[in-house]
Symmetry: C2
Subunit: 290 residues, 2 copies
Amino acid sequence: MPLKPRIERAISAAITHAQGNIAPPKLASALAYSVTPGGARIRPTICLSVAMACGDPQPEMSDAAATAIELIHCASLVHDDMPCFDDADIRRGKPSVHKAYSEPLALLAGDSLIIASFEVLTRVAHHDPMRAIELMKILGESTGMPGGICAGQGWESEEKIDLSAYHRAKTGALFTAATRMGAASAGEDPEPWTELGARIGEAFQVADDLRDALYDESTLGKPAHQDEIHDRPNAVTEYGVRGAIKRLEDILSGAISSIPSCPGEAMLAEMVRKTAERLTPVMPPVQAAE
Amino acid sequence: MPLKPRIERAISAAITHAQGNIAPPKLASALAYSVTPGGARIRPTICLSVAMACGDPQPEMSDAAATAIELIHCASLVHDDMPCFDDADIRRGKPSVHKAYSEPLALLAGDSLIIASFEVLTRVAHHDPMRAIELMKILGESTGMPGGICAGQGWESEEKIDLSAYHRAKTGALFTAATRMGAASAGEDPEPWTELGARIGEAFQVADDLRDALYDESTLGKPAHQDEIHDRPNAVTEYGVRGAIKRLEDILSGAISSIPSCPGEAMLAEMVRKTAERLTPVMPPVQAAE
């Protein structure tokens, strides 16, 4: 099965499970709303690509890993958009969850999705309990405290930011989770896969900085120039537009050379190249850009 | 070791782990603030009491179960107190987390504690992976959607509330988690323990309704009369003060007779009786009360 429908089917099954038939209807609806439309599903795509490059011997396990990562990523977007954080009215071109439903329902949708991401892994654990536990350990490390995405956002409340800890936690953690969980779900040691995830995460951060600086709200499908508004560190401020694009290309070449030797090495390199194309912004006219 | 220090030690170890040495300092501090002072620690006490009544063969496992329940309970209090829910300025006699820190940090502290509650269980999983998975399944069911505490709060956003689903999810779920996880952590079938948890949960709900209706903010250590203010269902409105107290007593007798046969049956019945004493409000003068 091609990756995209495989991912959508797994996410949709997890949401249906969380909606049950005894749930409060609005919150049940908010869960589905929070995870659709999916956009590129870049993290679960990376996770499954790595699992497949390693042979993907237990597709239920890699599906669960990919779904867990995407659910918790969506949870972080829902909470991020809330008034006390980015106060973003739109996300992926439609009203953000707290706008479409309410703040209490957005808060609860995020909480429920975090819990659902662990539950997805418990439901496949009978295939291989210690492997499921390993996946949950990586998921927890990458999302909670002291080094996961919660920690990353926590740095934004500090007067003195540890920039490398900030980026590693805020954006990098879920990308390293994606490569590591992909490998672990296939029964491989996750450690050699950390660098690939970290480099894709770095590339993604630079690309995001470029888009935030260069594009407007209608192109982004979410508010633009948020880094400038919230005075957050941004690669464009640091290197300029052309410098940031050069840096993006360097990081992605590094990513490709970091791929551990495995049956699907060439396929994975191709996936990283495609990610690169998707990430690199179409340059706007030079005056507008710099 | 007596229960109280055992619980505090386990919770404190989990928080130290989540604080790590690379974490953003304010969020790290907010985590400790969110779980102290502990109050009665009623849910972990029930969990450990049940585990001990079943022989408690793996104390690391029961400690982890009790800690997981309390961390996620504290997470729900932190999120509940936020302006978009109860907008409560005080909790356990001190400023609530969003007042002491900020709204973003309260949101992140809650998210991190939810994740930490699952992580605590992954860290003891090597003792018995399938038992740890079973504990995580109960934890997920009791806290997420469609029937856990998130669902319970979700019902508050519905025009038409399914009252029994609401109470079962909002308050009952974590009490049934406490008895079931206590039994499961000792290697026993959790199912026969569901009723004890459900009845203690019901009793707790009635006691909470009584306190909310009868006490003032300084006695409660949190805002009073919230049910009336938010027009939420309350046992005192339904049965009157004396009727609600009678109901509390009936539920607790039912709880005692539901205790499954086990080595520590008598000790457990005593624990429920003590809980009852703690829960039953000291009656204020009759005029003030009715």
